[in-house]
C-alpha cells in the first residue's frame, strides 16, 4: 500500500484519489485547507482523523466532489474535477463515489430495498435492475431478511447498514464514510466498522472520516488533519511512525 505522498497531476491508473496542493478558503481569515497532498490507491481502507475545526469535513467535501478547492488539483477516479461541468461532476458522483452519512439520511416510509435502489436512481439503470441490485447489496451487508422493512422498523445499526448498502450498490471507486458510527452505540458502531473492513477485504476502497482516534487507529492507514494540513500519514502494521503531531 502507498504511504500517501503527493503524486503529479497525471496519477497512476490505480489511484482513486489524488489531491495536490489543495487549498480551500472561505470568506474570513482562516483557510479550511492549506496545501493538502493526499493519494489513495485502489483497495485502501484509511481513516481521515482530526478534531472538529481541523478541516476534515472540508476535505471530505472536496474528495467527494461536493465542493471545489480554491487552489490545487483534485483527481477522483482519474478525472480532473476542476475541468468538469455540474452535469459531469454529478455523473462522477453517481458512478464513482458512494457516501455514508452520520445521520443515515434514509427516506422515511420507504422500504430498505427502495432506499438502497435510490442509490442507483441517477445511474441510468432501469427500475427492475436497480431493485435487483439493491437486494444483492442488502444481502452483502447482512440484511437480506430486511428488504421490506421501513427505516422506523430498523435499529440504528441496521439503518447505517442500509445506508452503506445504498453507497456500495453502484460499485463506486471510492466509498466515503462521514462519522459512520457517530450516531450509534459502541456495539453497533463496532459492527459497522467490521462491515466496512469486510467490504474492503472484498476490494472496496474506503475512506472513513472521523474525530475518533480510537477508530482511526484500528484502520490500516491513518491520515491526521489539523488546522487544514496533513500532520501525519501513518500506515499501521508496518511501522509506527506516529507520535508528536497529535
Amino acid at each position: 500500500m502507498s504511504t500517501g505522498t503527493a503524486v503529479g497531476p497525471a496519477p497512476h491508473p490505480r489511484t482513486v484519489v489524488a489531491l495536490t496542493g489543495v487549498t480551500k478558503e472561505y470568506p474570513g481569515p482562516v483557510a479550511a485547507l492549506r496545501g493538502v497532498d493526499l493519494t489513495v490507491e485502489e483497495g485502501e481502507l484509511l481513516g481521515i482523523v482530526g478534531p472538529s475545526g481541523s478541516g476534515k469535513s472540508t476535505l471530505l467535501h472536496i474528495i467527494g466532489t461536493l465542493d471545489r478547492p480554491t487552489a490545487g488539483s483534485v483527481h477522483i477516479a482519474g478525472h480532473e474535477v476542476a475541468a468538469l461541468s455540474d452535469r459531469r461532476l454529478s455523473a462522477l458522483r453517481a458512478q464513482h463515489v458512494g457516501f455514508v452519512f452520520q445521520a443515515f439520511h434514509l427516506v422515511p416510509g420507504v422500504s430498505a430495498r427502495d432506499n438502497v435502489a435510490e442509490g442507483l436512481l441517477y445511474s441510468g439503470l432501469s427500475r427492475s435492475v436497480r431493485r435487483r441490485r439493491a437486494a444483492d447489496a442488502l444481502a452483502r451487508v447482512g440484511l437480506a431478511d430486511r428488504l421490506d422493512h421501513k427505516p422506523h422498523q430498523l435499529s440504528g445499526g441496521q439503518k447505517q447498514r442500509v445506508a452503506i448498502a445504498r453507497a456500495v450498490v453502484g460499485e463506486p471507486a471510492l466509498l466515503l464514510a462521514d462519522e459512520p458510527t457517530g450516531a450509534l452505540d459502541s456495539a453497533s458502531g463496532a459492527a459497522v466498522m467490521e462491515l466496512l473492513r469486510d467490504l474492503n477485504r472484498e476490494g472496496a476502497t474506503i475512506a472513513v472520516i472521523t474525530h475518533d482516534t480510537e477508530i482511526a487507529a484500528q484502520l490500516p492507514r491513518e491520515v491526521r488533519i489539523r488546522d487544514g494540513q496533513v500532520v501525519a500519514d501513518v500506515t499501521h502494521g508496518t511501522a509506527a511512525t506516529t507520535g508528536a503531531a497529535l
Binding site: R87, S90, S123, A183, G203
Partner: protein
C-alpha cells in the same frame, strides 16, 4: 483486490455522462414529497381547486342557460315575421295598416299561415267598479282566428275563439293578462269597453309574442260589432317555410301597404330571443374574475408550499446531489412536484365545477353543459400556474450546496 473492484476502477477512466431519468422516475421522484405529506397536499391544492371550480361553474352555468334558450328557440322556429306600422313621417298622425293586408300577405309565395291583431281603443278591468285608468298594462286587441296557429301557441285552459264565440262578447286572455286580472280559469266575466265579456280561454306562455301575453283578445267580427273596430290591423303575423323567410321579408312591407311601404316595420321576434341567448352565454365577467383571483391565490399557496418543502428537504436535496443528481434533475423534481400539486387541484376543481353546474342545471331543469374549452383552459391554467409557482423554489433547490447532506440533520 478482486475482479469486481477492478472493473469498478476501470470504469473510472471512462467517459462521464449524466444519465437521464425516465419519465416514470421523474414522476416517482416528483411525487415522493407529496406522498409523505398528504394533508399539506390537500390544503394547498384546495386553493387551486376553488379557483378552477368557480371558473368552470360560471362558464358551465351560462352555457347551460344558453343551451336551454337555444333549444327553446329551436322549438319556436325562426321563420316568424311581424309587420306593424312604423313611425309616420308626420308626427302624431295615426298610422294604420290597410284592411286587405292580411289577405295580401297570405298570397306571398312561401307564406304558410297569416294572422293579425288590431289595437282597440278599449280597456279591460275586473269589474266596472275598477277605475278606468287602472288598466294594469293590459291591451285589448282584436284578433283573427288564425293567430294562435301562426304563433304556434297553445291554450292553457278553456278554448280559442272560433267563428261563433268570435262574434259575441267573449274574450281570450294572455297568461300575463289573466294573472294581472286575477283570473285563473275560464268562465269568469271581465268588464271590457262598456259591457261584461266572458273569458272563454287563457293562453299558455308565448315566448315569441310577449305583447300577446299581455293582451285581452276579442274576435275580429265581434270587435267590429261590439267595440266600433274599423277593421284595420295593427300587426300582421306570418309564418313561412324556413327557406323563404328572406324572400318574404323583402316583399312584405310593400305587400302590406303598397302605397306607403316606408310606414311598415317588419320585425323578426326570434332575433330578440337569439340576442337574449347570446347575453346568457356571455358569462358574468365579475364572477369569472373572482375565480381568477382565487386561482391566483391558489398559485401563491402552491409556491409557498413549495418553498417550505425545499427548506425542509435540504438534506434530501444534498443526499440526491451526493447520489449523483444534477442541478437540472433537482429542478425537474421540484417543478414536477409543483405541477402535480396544482394539477391535482385543477382536477378536483374541474370535477367540483362540473358537479356544481350539474346541480344547478338539475334544479333549474336546464341541459347540463360544461364546455370542453373551459375544462381544457382551466386545466391548462393550473399547469401554467404549477410551473410558474414551482420554478423559483426549484431553482433555489438546485442551487443549494450539495454538502448540506453531510451536516448532521
Amino acid at each position: 483486490m478482486n475482479g469486481e473492484r477492478g472493473r469498478g476502477g476501470g470504469r473510472g477512466r471512462g467517459k462521464l455522462k449524466a444519465a437521464r431519468l425516465s419519465p416514470r422516475d421523474v414522476a416517482h421522484v416528483g411525487s415522493s414529497g407529496l406522498r409523505s405529506r398528504p394533508m399539506r397536499v390537500v390544503l394547498s391544492a384546495l386553493g387551486i381547486a376553488i379557483g378552477i371550480a368557480t371558473m368552470i361553474s360560471v362558464v358551465g352555468i351560462s352555457a347551460s342557460s344558453q343551451a336551454q334558450l337555444l333549444r327553446e328557440l329551436d322549438k319556436l322556429g325562426t321563420n316568424l315575421l311581424v309587420a306593424s306600422p312604423g313611425e309616420s313621417m308626420f308626427a302624431g298622425e295615426e298610422v294604420k295598416l290597410p284592411e286587405e293586408s292580411v289577405g295580401m300577405v297570405g298570397r306571398i309565395k312561401g307564406v304558410q299561415d297569416v294572422g293579425a291583431t288590431a289595437d282597440l281603443n278599449a280597456t279591460v278591468r275586473r269589474t266596472d267598479k275598477v277605475d278606468e285608468d287602472d288598466t294594469g298594462g293590459i291591451a285589448v286587441k282584436a284578433t283573427t282566428a288564425d293567430l294562435l296557429r301562426v304563433l304556434r301557441g297553445e291554450v292553457g285552459s278553456g278554448s280559442w275563439l272560433n267563428a261563433a264565440t268570435g262574434r259575441y262578447p267573449s274574450v281570450v286572455l294572455g297568461h300575463v293578462a289573466a294573472e294581472r286580472l286575477g283570473i285563473t280559469e275560464p268562465g269568469r266575466q271581465v268588464w271590457l269597453g262598456d259591457r261584461y265579456f266572458t273569458v272563454v280561454g287563457i293562453l299558455a306562455p308565448l315566448p315569441l309574442a310577449p305583447e300577446i301575453e299581455r293582451s285581452a283578445l276579442v274576435g275580429w267580427e265581434g270587435a267590429k260589432r261590439l267595440l266600433d273596430f274599423d277593421g284595420h290591423p295593427t300587426s300582421v303575423y306570418e309564418r313561412s317555410a324556413d327557406a323563404a323567410v328572406e324572400d318574404v321579408r323583402t316583399v312584405m312591407a310593400a305587400t302590406v301597404d303598397p302605397q306607403n311601404p316606408q310606414n311598415v316595420k317588419v320585425t323578426d321576434p326570434s332575433s330578440a330571443l337569439r340576442a337574449k341567448a347570446a347575453t346568457e352565454g356571455a358569462f358574468s365577467s365579475l364572477l369569472l374574475g373572482l375565480g381568477g383571483i382565487a386561482l391566483l391565490v391558489g398559485g401563491v399557496g402552491v409556491a409557498n408550499t413549495m418553498i417550505i418543502s425545499v427548506l425542509e428537504r435540504r438534506y434530501e436535496i444534498g443526499l440526491r446531489r451526493s447520489l449523483g443528481a444534477t442541478r437540472g434533475q433537482i429542478r425537474i423534481q421540484f417543478v414536477t412536484e409543483s405541477l402535480m400539486l396544482s394539477g391535482l387541484g385543477g382536477l378536483a376543481g374541474v370535477a367540483l365545477g362540473a358537479a356544481a353546474t350539474g346541480v344547478y342545471a338539475q334544479s333549474g331543469g336546464l341541459p347540463w353543459v360544461v364546455p370542453l374549452w373551459a375544462v381544457g383552459g382551466g386545466f391548462g391554467a393550473t399547469l401554467v400556474i404549477g410551473t410558474v409557482a414551482g420554478l423559483y423554489p426549484a431553482v433555489r433547490a438546485s442551487r443549494l450546496s450539495p454538502t448540506l447532506a453531510l451536516h448532521a440533520a
